[in-house]
């Protein structure tokens, strides 16, 4: 949005003011996080000194060490990575299968099934917490990895199917049809020919599924009763009991928990933004 006719100097001043204003707002918006990291390196008592920010001297790195060890960060992080990787892969594969069946295969129910599966997007997750807990209890699934995988994948599917189906509808069938004529089976077609073509939407689905499930904790809180499969957000939730009065260490745990997602976001910023834009605007 550039406007013809304004002279260079006033344009530069305007731009300078714009950048200054936006920087101030960004600083204000991110200030809580800055405050968090600042005091995570302080001694717990420093918090009561009623300064807004302090320069910790010396910075108490051992807060992070305590947080890492006693917050079981590594264990919870490993669980998060495991659960999320399986969820993303399963969501992509199943979405591809269903989207292909509903957009390419000829059968009477293809629209109906698609619509019912998409209906899942309207159903609030928390409404399934109570009955699922009872079901998993009866089946002995509570506290297992499946207690997370089944609901995570199930709730990621409607969005995944929608994204994949939208994409597939715009892909020409010529390649698949010639392969079919040559006697290739449908499954081979899906995984050898269609899969590579749908890479952009696979990336989108992967990002959306990851974002939705990495920070999820209510289902994990309800369906898991021990630390065995608990995920990263629990580093924060569990920690409060033991170190309730050592605020600096609690801040360190929070910073550590936020760290992985932040790193991934900074590294993959472009793809993530593109993925969200595609996923959100289409939805």
């Amino acid at each position: 949005m550039n406007f013809a006719g304004s002279n260079t100097k006033s344009r530069r001043i305007t731009r300078g003011l714009l950048i200054a204003f936006m920087s101030v707002i960004a600083f204000v918006e991110l200030f809580p996080l800055i405050w968090l990291v600042d005091f995570s390196l302080a001694k717990s008592g420093d918090l009561f000194a009623s300064n807004i920010l302090i320069a910790p001297n010396p910075p108490q790195w051992q807060n992070y060490y305590t947080a890492f060890v006693d917050g079981k960060v590594l264990h919870f992080l490993f669980n998060s990575i495991t659960v999320n990787t399986i969820t993303v892969i399963a969501t992509i594969l199943i979405s591809l299968m269903v989207a292909y069946a509903c957009t390419r295969m000829k059968w009477k129910l293809n629209r109906t099934v698609m619509n019912i599966l998409l209906l899942g997007m309207m159903i609030p997750i928390h409404a399934t917490l109570l009955p699922n807990f009872l079901i998993y209890n009866k089946v002995g699934m509570v506290d297992s990895i499946f207690a997370l995988l089944v609901p995570y994948i199930a709730f990621s599917l409607p969005q995944g199917i929608f994204i994949m189906a939208s994409f597939l509808e715009s892909v020409p069938r010529a390649l698949e049809e010639s392969a079919l004529i040559d006697g290739c089976g449908v499954y081979r077609i899906i995984f050898k020919i269609v899969l590579p073509i749908t890479k952009p939407s696979i990336v989108t689905i992967a990002i959306m599924t990851f974002l939705n499930n990495w920070n999820e904790f209510v289902m994990a809180m309800t369906y898991l009763t021990s630390d065995k499969w608990r995920t990263l957000p629990f580093s924060v939730l569990q920690f409060q009991g033991q170190y309730a009065s050592n605020y600096a260490v609690q801040f360190a745990v929070m910073a550590l928990t936020a760290f992985p997602a932040l790193i991934v976001y900074i590294l993959l910023n472009e793809q993530i933004t593109k993925g969200i834009v595609v996923g959100a605007v289409k939805g």
């Binding site: 714009l18 299968m97 269903v98 295969m105 609030p124 917490l129 109570l130 990495w214 309800t222 834009v277």
Partner: protein
């Protein structure tokens, strides 16, 4: 795609046969259907059953028909307050958060160059961080003794404006809303930003040639072209206001005195804290109905406007 040419008929017959293979279709669709039924559909039906019982989670459930629902709809002020809180939150999202998001989407687009990417990323950072961290952090910010907010007020000489942000029954809901509006800023901005990027720049150039100012361009070109995006974003905001749970749970757990209660948190509390599992399920069922009704209603409202 049926072909009229005779030598293609053979090809079409083969394609038709393969595309209609019942076993392949079944095997492709079955995993999704099984997951969907077991994790989403069956639990909702089960919820409807348990909603009609009195059950503490232990022992056997006692069937009491629609008693829970009658209690909820006609005698439970917390249920209605939850809906009211959701409406208030939705209002704040649409009338406070979204205009700010829109303005900043325009500003980020206007900055252009490398700074555009920088600001876009910076504004979105709170959204990649887990709600567990965000909410726990805000509990500390709101702490009346050493929290950031009261400290900042003292530093600015406004010590008398200090509050018990989460403890004061009249203040609490606003404290919760502030956190949610702050947290959702990045998403709203990104969606409006995507919409702005989709507008043809030639429209602005033509307007500039005709002598339009920035403000005029914004109100006459940007806003009207953004109507579908605004519609999506507003729908998402209102539905998300209804579905709030995690942030409320960690900030106030509905308190003090159920003043900040939301439906999803309420049902959780009833089932797992009060052991009123049947009642919790009844709330669950009404919750699903409200969400679906809201989605359908919002779609209808916006469709009418678009078709006019």
């Amino acid at each position: 795609m049926e072909s009229p040419l005779p030598f293609d008929k053979g090809r079409d017959i083969i394609l038709n046969k393969v595309y209609s293979n019942k076993w392949v279709i079944l095997s492709l669709v079955t995993p999704a259907v099984i997951l969907f039924i077991s994790a989403i559909f069956a639990p909702i039906c089960l919820s409807a059953y348990f909603g009609m019982t009195q059950y503490s989670g232990m022992g056997t459930p006692v069937f009491i028909g629609l008693e829970n629902f009658r209690q909820l709809l006609f005698h439970d002020e917390i249920f209605w307050r939850s809906l009211g809180n959701a409406a208030l939150l939705g209002f704040c999202f649409v009338c406070i958060q979204h205009p700010v998001c829109m303005i900043f989407a325009v500003l980020v687009d206007k900055v252009s160059g490398k700074l555009e990417k920088f600001f876009r990323a910076a504004y979105f950072i709170p959204n990649v961080i887990s709600v567990a961290v965000i909410a726990s952090m805000w509990v500390f910010i709101y702490n009346p003794d050493f929290g950031l907010l009261n400290s900042a007020l003292r530093a600015l000489g406004l010590g008398s404006a200090q509050q018990e942000w989460l403890g004061n029954p009249d203040m609490a809901i606003w404290s919760v809303i502030i956190v949610l509006v702050w947290h959702g800023f990045g998403w709203g901005l990104l969606i409006y930003y995507a919409g702005i990027k989709g507008i043809d720049t030639q429209l602005y150039e033509a307007a500039a040639i005709d002598g339009a100012t920035g403000t005029q361009s914004f109100f006459r070109i940007t806003l009207p072209m953004m109507r579908p995006v605004i519609r999506v974003n507003v729908t998402l905001a209102i539905i998300s206001a209804l579905k709030q749970m995690e942030t409320v749970y960690l900030l106030t757990n509905g308190g003090p005195g159920n003043k900040t209660q939301f439906l999803a948190n309420y049902l959780y509390q009833k089932a797992f804290s009060s052991y009123e599992y049947g009642y919790g399920n009844a709330i669950s069922v009404l919750f699903v109905i409200v969400c679906m009704a809201a989605t359908v209603l919002l779609n209808k409202v916006f469709k009418t406007k678009a078709e006019l």
